[in-house]
Subunit: 364 residues, 2 copies
């Protein structure tokens, strides 16, 4: 069974997906060690093991290599244990207080590199920009599906962040609804825009820059900062300073800057925290059909950004039960700590890093 | 530093509490084993070790015993590492997009029993009812503080649920704001009431009873069910069938029924899941001063209840980053499983259980 269900009281959408329960680790408890696939022998994402994933839907590959064979640099495949199914039409069902949509959607894996152990912060900036570019391609393609209301990109790094595979990867989930958090952001930014005529993210980055205590890093029009009301210690947001609702519109120059800032932040976090687990999530505007329907002015008041949540604390009753997070590290302290860390040496390693080989996208 | 801060975009309150960081386990990672105080030797909640907690504010004790000495059955003390401070006045500060209230509030521990290892589901029903009665007492007392907008009661059981102490205990957090989730519930129930003239929880329990597939247990006017849009596998809500906004108004007869249903559900969950971690949270109406100010009709449209979240899955990027939970167990399947489990033998043990000794509340 795959179904999207709406909580009748707080209108929160949840994905009920019993197929998801077939994953090797799903019955894991939070208090047990996760059985992460660590060794290359068992890893389904290794070069040469392309048949252990569903057929690829997109790849950056060496010219002349065929889909689902070696020669790729970044490879996108359907998730083997998808939370949503690509089959069928999303239909709204109402039965008394129970509202559902059949679990239609697309769930993909982005295999970020053939290198089993080279995590995102150890990649050259060019490779990170390449991965961001792949996100853009998939967002554009998936939005063409009229059933899709929103495309979410996220990345779970480490067992503490819910990753079940070690090999560097991100996930893409295209849903027939606008996810709860994105809808809250759109609602908040709309209200602010109606009141002030401004984009709240533009005003926020301006205040953060002016007062500087929350700033972690700033470069070529991209700002990284610890948000004022961070829910997690060392949480960081990365926001383009120039107004832009849609990540898919970012040009190659901006992608390289974002990649550089993202790498800088991850290196700083690792320097501050040691080896750590984190979730990364890309917040961008919904698909045009959903924007048109629900937030027609979104391009004016919404603003794409990346949120990074290091997973150092264990949310409990207060967080789950009341939605109130207790964060033991004031974000201005985290920002001060991260700001002063010098990661220039680790970043400079890039200068000597090999460019990715002669590659071109295929299979779009 | 202790401060409540409001996210400028989605208006979510967070507690920033650097004092909280001084707890022995706070810098724990989610992917490490939590250093739970397991042995009675190190446990600050043992009988005879009353001086290792702040002075008690309430207790059920044997007649004639003095506060902070042995002889108690249930004991309430301020949290040694409180998220909020009982000193000062809550004042709203606005600075550009940054809105805060100084971190005023009350954070208490309810030590549920002198028995280090007897967790809630192993307690006699009478003891559980006694603990629920203590919650009521503290809710009533704390609401008399004009600075308090809401009193939240929750319970973290097991390291997977964020518990840092093994000895059976609950927590109470009185805040100068209405917690985010409670506010969402009040907003949802208000909207429904304005549209239909009904309490949504009353209509919901009626639909659940009528269709029965989500029912886990029902007894003497108290219904336990797996909610239609459960975010966690085997999540259960316990709701009084008769309309009542305020848990503090429940009479002793109802408390005993709720205790019996709660124990039954916990035993069923343990039978289904083995030893498991969970969060329990009590959702009741805010303090009169906050209700008056923000939801004057709350007693008509709100409805108190208990939510139980077994912690079997590890929320990751989709949950944290987009607010969309992926639940691999359809709640009707969980309900069917829990419903058919027979825990009568474990419940019957109660009949022989000793009543709690001649006790009376002190220190209120």
């Amino acid at each position: 069974m795959r179904e999207l269900r709406k909580d009748p009281i707080i209108s929160r959408w949840v994905i009920i997906s019993s197929e998801r329960g077939r994953r090797p680790k799903e019955n894991q408890r939070e208090d047990e060690d996760a059985t992460v696939v660590e060794s290359t022998e068992d890893c389904p994402f290794e070069m040469g093991r392309e048949s252990s994933t569903p057929p690829e839907v997109y790849a950056i590959r060496e010219r002349g290599t065929a889909p689902d064979t070696p020669g790729w640099q970044v490879r996108v495949t359907p998730n083997k244990y998808p939370a949503l199914s690509p089959e069928g039409e999303p239909t709204l069902h109402e039965h008394g207080l129970f509202v559902s949509i059949n679990g239609v959607g697309i769930h993909e894996m982005v295999i970020e590199t053939p290198d089993h152990s080279r995590q995102l912060d150890a990649q050259p900036v060019e490779r990170i920009a390449l991965i961001l570019g792949v996100y853009q391609q998939r967002i554009r393609t998936l939005r063409q599906d009229p059933r899709v209301a929103h495309v979410l990109v996220f990345r779970n790094q480490g067992t503490g962040a819910g990753a079940s595979l070690h090999h560097p990867h991100s996930q893409i989930v295209a849903t027939p609804i606008i996810p709860n958090r994105i809808e809250q952001e759109l609602g908040g930014s709309l209200t602010y825009w109606q009141r002030t005529g401004h984009c709240i993210y533009c005003d926020l980055t301006e205040q953060v820059r002016r007062e500087s205590e929350f700033v972690v890093h700033q470069r070529d029009g991209v700002l990284a900062f610890c948000p004022y009301a961070s829910i997690f210690p060392y949480e960081v947001w990365i926001v383009p300073e120039e107004h832009a609702a849609d990540f898919a519109d970012a040009d190659d120059r901006l992608l390289v800057v974002v990649a550089r800032v993202l790498k800088t932040v991850l290196l700083k976090q690792r320097e501050a925290l040691g080896e750590f687990s984190y979730n990364l999530v890309l917040h961008t505007v919904p698909a045009p059909q959903a924007v048109e329907r629900e937030f027609p002015s979104a391009s004016t008041h919404y603003h794409w950004h990346i949120e990074l949540y290091p997973r150092l604390t264990k949310p409990a009753g207060c967080e789950w039960g009341a939605g109130v997070f207790i964060n033991p590290v004031p974000p201005e302290e985290a920002a001060r700590h991260l700001r002063k860390l010098d990661v220039a040496a680790a970043m400079a390693g890039d200068a000597n890093a090999r460019e990715h080989p002669d590659s071109s996208p295929t299979n779009e």
